[in-house]
């Protein structure tokens, strides 16, 4: 076991992938000389040189598309889009190329690219820098969407993502980079299944990524009130681990979903839909969700806090569902 931060885990995973496979390289804005905007890639330029730790111009569509092309050309690129806020500029390449080329070419070509980006609010960065778009991206067929919520997942998801013959998007919540944990290293995780992070019997809390910590904290508070909450970390937002979702709801018969996306059209809606379609008869109460308020995320601390899911909000939603 090794104590490391989420940031170190991502960096360690990149290093190991680059050491073990010469086809792997990292490209994105400021991954090299700056050391990564979140210091994730600090030191890697010195170790691997500017060809493989490749600083790009500010050209999200261009370099994401170049990553797609390089993947088709036999490399295993890790494209870093600084934050998901800027990924909108690359969406054409992601949806119209990365996600479609295998199907559209009748299976002749595949796109083994990994696209990493930071996501989430909570740092007073305002409306253009606080999006949580991972759940929204999970709408697109042809890509896999990962949301590591723990240090172990941050370190362990990259290798299987690089092994995946198809495009994988990894959303790293920027608030997690400083989290530390004692983890097995080298980390080895799967990228297919959700994980129960806490067992419980009264209610299921389904969440992922940046909201996992808040949800576990809410579960602690609920425990103090005598409510036993199970916490399911989705880990993979596309394809959803429907079995795990249905299994936890079957156990507890009640469910609250926590998700930092704007509420309407968030992935929490999709999870509700799956439960209703296949687990309707398990339910003893309506489902509920705790999402971001439907506003551009404001700068002022108190307003931003009010806009994002909170521990109190989760606890209250659970109480409401449980009728307490």
């Amino acid at each position: 076991m090794t104590v490391m931060s989420y940031r170190d885990a991502v960096r360690g995973a990149i290093r190991e992938a680059m050491q073990s496979d010469p086809r792997v390289f990292l490209m994105g804005e400021d991954v090299g000389h700056y050391g990564g905007c979140y210091a994730v890639s600090k030191g890697l330029l010195e170790e691997f040189g500017p060809e493989r730790i490749r600083d790009t111009p500010l050209s999200e569509s261009g370099f994401t598309g170049a990553g797609i092309g390089a993947a088709m050309g036999g490399l295993r690129p890790i494209v870093e889009i600084m934050t998901c806020n800027f990924s909108l500029l690359a969406l054409d390449q992601i949806m119209n190329n990365a996600a479609t080329i295998r199907h559209m070419s009748g299976g002749q070509f595949n796109v083994p690219v990994v696209i990493r980006m930071a996501t989430g609010g909570g740092r007073q960065l305002g409306a253009q820098h606080s999006h949580s778009l991972e759940g929204w991206y999970a709408h697109i067929p042809g890509i896999r969407v990962l949301a590591p919520g723990t240090v172990a997942d941050a370190g362990g998801m990259l290798a299987p993502a690089l092994d995946d013959p198809d495009p994988v998007l990894i959303f790293e919540n920027a608030l997690l980079y400083n989290d530390t944990a004692d983890v097995d290293w080298p980390a080895s995780v799967d990228i297919d299944h959700a994980a129960v992070r806490r067992e419980g019997t009264d209610i299921s809390l389904i969440t992922y990524g940046g909201s996992l910590g808040k949800t576990l904290a809410a579960a602690d508070q609920l425990a103090a009130e005598g409510i036993s909450a199970e916490v399911l970390d989705l880990r993979v937002l596309r394809p959803l681990d429907e079995d795990a979702i249905l299994a936890t709801v079957a156990r507890t018969r009640r469910c609250v979903i926590v998700d930092e996306g704007w509420q309407s059209g968030s992935i929490s809606a999709e999870i509700m839909a799956r439960i209703i379609e296949k687990g309707f008869w398990y339910l003893d109460a309506p489902l509920a969700r705790v999402c971001s308020k439907e506003v551009p995320i404001p700068y002022a601390h108190h307003l931003e806090e009010a806009a994002l899911p909170s521990i109190t909000g989760i606890v209250e939603a659970c109480r409401a569902v449980l009728g307490r």
Partner: protein, 330 residues
């Protein structure tokens, strides 16, 4: 026949080859238009008629290990690259014998064996991909070239700008081929670019750039050979603007309100097949008998392609979700 030489060798055999390829495209597409009105081919169909000299000329300079990225107007490129006419036709019929299993249609021809990377229907969308293919070549020290075809309309897109800069900045072996046919759908070049000299735009990225008469197959071939030789030597990208003209509508839906018949006639008068044939006959490089034989061969090939497509089968509906992702993951 593909040759690695930087010079054009205009012997008889090569003249025949150039003419043959241009006529193949022309007749194949005339058939497509017919089949479209018969509703055998559906969706969008963009014909290359009038622009044949570009694909034929450029393709002469490429080797089998080179890669190609094209647009939705790519029948010509696919044909000259060697994608079998039958598999292209079957693709447009939506048959599983098509070069994309019927999933792509006219706008999305793919062929891994020929390193033909599509068939992209987003204007400008193939340019970053081509840049990335070349990046892979550069990083793996493979002396390959990626040829990227696009229309002059694409030059206004941000993806053009970003790709041009990346390719020039990183010195990637891309041959950018701008097929400047003066219109993007109904939008004339002077309504879409403040600088209508596209090769001048390219030069502003510090990229070697050149404009040629895209109606002259020999001129195109010569320029492409120079360009490809330069790319192979320096590893740096090269921009070739081919000035050409689309004789037909943009797609099958277009009433062509934006240009007058006289203009179209002026251009068809100097069509690439017509001009080359006249010159080659005059120069004694080919004879009428050669042309007749080519037409016969091409007619057979096109008929064969149609027969192949007609005989093709439809992919079972049960396979719809196949190839959204890999069947097996590690």
């Amino acid at each position: 026949m593909t040759q690695a030489s930087p010079k054009v060798w205009l012997d008889r055999q090569h003249c025949r080859e150039l003419l043959h390829q241009m006529i193949r495209i022309r007749r194949f597409e005339e058939k497509c238009a017919e089949l479209y009105t018969q509703e055998k081919i559906r969706g969008f169909l963009h014909l290359y008629i009038g622009e044949e000299a570009v694909a034929v000329g450029v393709m002469q300079a490429l080797l089998p290990e080179d890669a190609i990225v094209a647009t939705y107007r790519e029948h010509g490129h696919a044909l000259v690259r060697g994608v079998p006419a039958g598999s292209i036709m079957a693709e447009m019929y939506g048959k599983q014998e098509g070069c994309s299993r019927g999933r792509g249609g006219s706008m999305h021809l793919f062929d891994a064996a020929r390193r033909f990377y599509g068939g992209n229907a987003i204007v400008g969308g193939g340019m970053p991909v081509a840049t990335g293919l070349a990046l892979a070549d550069a990083m793996m020290a493979r002396k390959q070239v990626t040829a990227c075809f696009f229309g002059e309309g694409a030059a206004a897109e941000g993806e053009f700008h970003e790709s041009m800069n990346l390719a020039a900045l990183w010195r990637l072996p891309v041959l950018f081929v701008c097929e400047n046919n003066l219109y993007a759908m109904g939008t004339a070049l002077e309504l879409s670019e403040s600088q209508t000299d596209i090769s001048a735009k390219a030069a502003a990225y510090n990229m070697q750039a050149e404009a040629v008469d895209g109606m002259n197959v020999v001129e195109v071939e010569a320029a492409a050979r120079r360009a490809v030789a330069a790319i192979r030597e320096t590893g740096a990208p090269y921009f070739l603007e081919c000035r050409t003209y689309r004789f037909r509508a943009h797609s099958m839906y277009d009433p062509q309100l934006y240009r007058d018949k006289a203009e179209v006639e002026r251009w068809t008068g100097r069509g690439p097949i017509k001009r080359f044939t006249e010159w080659a006959l005059e120069a004694g490089e080919i004879r009428q008998a050669d042309i007749d034989e080519i037409e016969k061969l091409v007619a057979e090939e096109v008929a064969g392609a149609v027969a192949f497509a007609e005989a093709g089968t439809f992919e079972p509906v049960a396979d719809l979700a196949r190839d959204v992702g890999a069947e097996r993951r590690p």
